[in-house]
């Protein structure tokens, strides 16, 4: 919404941004678009010829002609003629190789440590899951949590936004009288998504375990801490 507060004068430009950007007026402060886009002449107007300065080859002005400079068509050859670097000495080459070897070794060690941590976290998680959840996790890298009051949550492998609350689809509720058609987990849909995780970085399987423990022990606290996104029905 643009509020036009007057018919002229300085105050109009401050209160009316579109007018300020778009005006072809002669006021230099107010005519931003005009200044960028317009080829003007005269000593006082050159500072405002931004667009012109960027795109135009100006032989007289090197500072105001960045496009030409960047593009190699500069009238300042010293900027283009960088001498080749001197060859590395034997000591420098050895130091570089030693540094690379150390970096590679450190990266490999970190990778192994991370894999070991994930394996350890996964073993602890699987120990806390029941048989059905373990099977789900092995198959889908996710498992369902059924609370005593009947609520269902789904915890997926991940760090944030990986927990959802599930509700039975309408069709599943209607089918309650036909036990053979009663819904399994796949017939539930996510109605809320929760973003909650430990304050320090852990393997994702540890994150899932932390979410599971808090959810089972204190659902209200879990919901209080989490950022909750309601999903479309």
């Amino acid at each position: 919404m643009v509020y036009y507060l007057g018919t002229g004068g300085t105050n109009v430009y401050y209160a009316d941004p579109w007018s300020v950007w778009n005006s072809t007026g002669t006021g230099t402060v107010g005519s931003v678009w005009y200044a960028w886009n317009t080829l003007t002449s005269g000593t006082n107007a050159t500072a405002n010829q931004v667009w012109q300065a960027w795109q135009t080859y100006v032989t007289a002005s090197t500072i105001a002609d960045p496009w030409s400079t960047w593009n190699g068509d500069s009238c300042r050859p010293e900027l283009r003629a960088c001498p080749p670097p001197p060859p590395l000495t034997r000591e420098q080459l050895e130091a570089r190789e030693r540094h690379l070897r150390e970096c590679n070794a450190r990266c490999a060690a970190e990778r192994v440590a991370r894999q070991e941590a994930e394996a350890r976290a996964e073993a602890l998680l699987l120990r806390e899951l029941d048989e059905h959840q373990r099977e789900e996790y092995r198959r889908e890298k996710a498992f369902t949590v059924r609370l005593p009051d009947g609520k269902r949550y789904r915890i997926k492998k991940g760090w944030a936004g990986n927990v959802e609350r599930l509700e039975a689809r309408r069709i599943a509720i209607l089918q309650e009288e036909a036990p053979s058609l009663v819904a399994n987990d796949r017939e539930y849909r996510a109605v809320e998504r929760f973003c909650i995780h430990p304050a320090e970085q852990l393997p994702e399987q540890d994150n899932m375990l932390a979410q599971l423990l808090l959810l089972k022990a204190n659902e209200a606290e879990f919901r209080r801490i989490a950022n909750i996104t309601r999903l479309q029905a």
Partner: protein, 100 residues
């Protein structure tokens, strides 16, 4: 004194800082951390080990860790613990949780 001897002096038996391997009747705190988890194990009849476990529990609680007794499987109400129980069986301690 090498690292292994130094750790033995402190009652630490591996490079994750764990106290000793688990034996029948022992209790355990598994603290979730970057290396997966680190376990503190104690015999509830051994006063020194109980004192060490309580110190670990209290230190972690001060840092904002939440403690849960692992008592059952899916659908059971888990139990959050605010005080150390030397006969708690297995506990898992997780860092403070926050919204993402």
């Amino acid at each position: 004194m090498n690292q292994q001897q130094e750790n033995q002096e402190k009652g630490i038996y591996n490079d994750r800082g764990e106290t000793r391997p688990m034996r029948a009747g022992d209790c355990e705190i598994a603290k979730l951390d970057r290396c997966g988890d680190t376990k503190t194990i104690w015999n509830p009849d051994n006063e020194d080990e109980v004192a060490n476990a309580k110190r670990t529990f209290d230190d972690l609680r001060k840092k904002g860790y939440l403690a849960f007794r692992v008592i059952g499987k899916d659908g059971d109400q888990g139990e959050q613990m605010n005080e150390f129980d030397p006969r708690a069986g297995r506990m898992i301690m997780i860092p403070q949780m926050r919204g993402g």
